[in-house]
């Protein structure tokens, strides 16, 4: 098994403020990791450091989604694959969507319950729909690794479970920042807990229970 991400006695800063100091861990191919911790504990910072270590192979679901509001959900989804096609192909598909791409995106949107919104500008969708378009873009890229920052925060319980299940089954390596401890226990096989500027917990999910994780949100 190859090591994908390694951190050795490193520190991470958000702006000028150090959020994590002197931490070490590594993630191997095939792991499904959940990052948990209070907001501001450094989950997003950690994810962006990981992204920098594997620029080419990662699909991302960032917290701010990073969608282009004036483009349709079709185009925003297709953007996951821009680097896999020629410029001409991309240009044609921007001006006049190709039927093959339309078919593939429609199929993917259907699996995410995004029906009938293919050519609606993303800026006019609801928060939950926008989040699903961002997820669709990541899935459409078909990468080996997926890094997600609170990927299901605006979705209901039922949708969240479906989508987390899709994410972990279609990607070899997955790292997700989650605030819902049940999701972490259900879909990850390893949990890393961040607290007070350091890694407070790093164990296989099967060795943990809810109470262990909720503790991370309580102490100060």
């Amino acid at each position: 098994m190859a090591t994908l991400f390694t951190f050795k006695e490193e520190s991470a800063a958000y702006g000028d403020k150090t959020v994590l100091s002197n931490f070490s861990f590594s993630i191997e191919t095939g792991e499904k990791v959940a990052l948990i911790g209070k907001s501001g504990s450094g989950k997003s910072t950690l994810l962006s450091l990981m992204q920098k270590q594997q620029t080419a192979g990662c699909a991302l679901i960032p917290q701010d989604l990073g969608l282009v509001a004036s483009l349709s959900s079709f185009h925003n989804t297709f953007m996951g694959k821009l680097d896999q096609h020629s410029r001409t192909y991309n240009f044609v598909n921007l001006v006049y969507p190709l039927s093959e791409e339309k078919r593939l995106v429609t199929e993917l949107h259907r699996s995410l319950n995004l029906n009938d919104k293919l050519f609606v500008p993303v800026g006019e969708l609801s928060g939950g729909e926008q989040q699903r378009v961002a997820i669709a873009r990541a899935l459409y890229a078909q990468r080996d690794i997926l890094l997600g920052d609170e990927p299901v925060s605006s979705l209901d319980e039922h949708q969240s479970c479906d989508i987390l299940n899709t994410i972990v089954t279609t990607h070899n390596t997955v790292v997700l920042a989650l605030h819902d401890v049940d999701h972490a226990l259900d879909y990850a096989d390893r949990v890393i807990g961040l607290s007070n500027g350091s890694i407070a917990l790093d164990s296989p999910a099967c060795d943990l229970n809810r109470v262990d994780l909720i503790g991370l949100y309580q102490n100060d």
Partner: protein, 504 residues
């Protein structure tokens, strides 16, 4: 407007795309009647001669050129100062329909047309130069100042001031909010004033354009370049020498250094209003009977069909082509000066080029290109597109620099341009473009003075034949169309939800 919004699974163009496609299609149709011939047998020879002049810029009569430089700056200083005071007072009454209408009219008439009219009244005098800038600029200042005050949210805080006199209320609640905006807009307008002042020389006033025209017509390109470089230097160092504290001194110096004001001939003024601009059939008519009205109708009808209509047609055709050419050029130029696409050394070259292009007045550019290519529509389109494209390109380049991409977005510049940047800045791009639509129309009309058959051509001919009644009628028609375009542009901007702030 948003046909695309209802749950759609089939691909439809959005409203903005429809508008863009229609404008391009219309421009393509306009290309059919347009004259794009290059007349001289070897235009490139002249072109290379022109550019070789940059290597050894020189001026024959340095003291004369310096004199014109001083005049150019003085006219701009006095004209802009006068108009910002008048404009400010008008802006306080901008809610009155009459004030709005008067302002719309005075700014719809280009400063060169104002100068041509004022020449008949005051002759080649300082008053002509200063008023030609001050009159249209007052209308612009009134509108922009009132918009700035509107946006400052002053009204919301109005109720906090009980029993306070209106002047104190104004000074304490409104001025602090709007001062910075007023200052930066007035400074920008002063730069425009310098350009306007320089081109007034082309119609005979003693500013830089005067000697530039004579140098150009003699093929003395070394002098042309020397004058252009002085002009660019003047504009690019504006931030260094235009200081609030120095302004009173500049104004006094400008007044002292101005050429002597010729005595105003009141006979002249009286003749202008009571005779020259009165429609020909009405002059000397003792009573307004049926035959006078019939003559008046014939007078109007023959000017309208023989001059106004062909002039309007050519002006609109040229405006449409120039507008779309401006748009395409701006879309091509803006990534070259955006930090999202190019790093410093490469970007700097384009930044300097864009500064030069937008500092060169379109009238001056068109004049130079006409000398090289002959009197077709081509020089006009190129001049307008280059000047306006450089302005919009610069603004879009700056705005696109602040966009944030996702960490996993495509690394290819072309993909980023098409998918990440253009869709995000497109609304703003259309806003800038429609905002400049009326300006482009006004410029197109003016270029007629150089011999292209737009409205300015007929107006200039009428003035040369001393038919001021005809000239004034044509100028009014031009202004009305200009106001019409402004109205359409505002409708489009509000229907398409376009504003000048970035939409991400």
């Amino acid at each position: 407007m948003n046909a695309v919004n209802t749950g759609s699974t089939s691909y439809k163009l959005g409203a903005r795309s429809w508008v863009s496609v229609s404008f391009i299609a219309l421009a393509l149709i306009c290309l059919i009647p347009a004259d794009f011939e290059i007349y001289p047998s070897d235009p490139w020879l002249e072109f290379t001669r022109f550019f070789s002049g940059v290597a050894n810029p020189s001026i024959n009569n340095i003291s004369f050129a310096f004199r014109l430089l001083v005049n150019t700056t003085s006219f701009a200083l006095l004209g802009v100062s006068l108009s910002c005071v008048i404009g400010f007072f008008l802006s306080l009454h901008f809610h009155r329909r009459l004030v709005r209408a008067v302002c719309a009219f005075v700014r719809a008439v280009h400063e060169i047309f104002w100068a041509l009219i004022l020449l008949q009244i005051f002759g080649l005098s300082v008053i002509t130069g200063v008023l030609a800038i001050a009159i249209p600029y007052s209308g612009v200042f009134a509108k922009v100042y009132s918009e700035i005050m509107e946006e400052s949210g002053y009204r919301r805080r109005d109720q906090l001031f009980f029993h306070v006199d209106s002047v104190s209320k104004f000074l304490y609640s409104k001025v602090p909010d709007v001062w910075m905006h007023f200052r930066s807009y007035t400074r920008y307008r002063f730069e425009c004033g310098l350009r306007s002042s320089a081109i007034l020389g082309f119609i005979g006033l003693p500013t830089l354009g005067f000697t530039l025209e004579s140098a150009f017509s003699q093929g003395n390109y070394s002098e042309v370049w020397a004058l252009l470089l002085i002009f660019y230097l003047l504009i690019s160092t504006l931030g260094l020498w235009m200081r609030k504290a120095l302004l009173p001194m500049y104004l006094i110096t400008a007044i002292v250094l101005l050429p002597e004001i010729k005595p105003v001939s009141f006979d002249n003024i009286a003749r202008f209003f009571s005779h020259d601009i009165v429609p020909y059939p009405l002059r000397g008519a003792v009573e307004l009977n049926a035959s006078v009205f019939a003559d008046l109708r014939n007078w109007f009808w023959s000017i309208f069909t023989e001059q106004a209509l062909p002039g309007i047609w050519d002006t609109l055709v040229l405006t449409q082509i120039s507008l779309v050419a401006t748009a395409l050029l701006a879309l091509f130029l803006f990534p070259l000066v955006s930090k999202k696409f190019f790093k410093r050394p490469a970007r700097s070259f384009w930044e300097i080029l864009l500064v030069v292009l937008r500092s060169t007045p379109e009238y001056m550019l068109a004049y130079m290109l006409l000398q090289l290519w002959g009197p077709s529509m081509l020089p006009a389109v190129v001049a307008i597109a280059v000047h306006n494209g450089a302005i919009i390109g610069h603004l879009l380049g700056r705005h696109s620099g602040s966009l944030a991409f996702r960490a996993d977005s495509s690394v290819s510049r072309v993909n980023r341009y098409l998918f990440e940047v253009v869709p995000r800045v497109y609304g703003q791009f259309l806003a800038f473009l429609f905002y400049r639509w009326e300006i482009i129309f006004r410029e197109t009309a003016i270029l007629g003075i150089l011999g292209i058959s737009t409205l300015g051509f007929y107006i200039d001919s009428a003035i040369q034949e001393l038919r001021m009644d005809r000239a004034i009628l044509l100028i009014i028609i031009t202004a009305l169309i200009n106001i019409g375009i402004d109205v359409i542009s505002r409708r489009l901007r509000s229907n398409l939800h376009l504003n000048l702030t970035p939409n991400v």
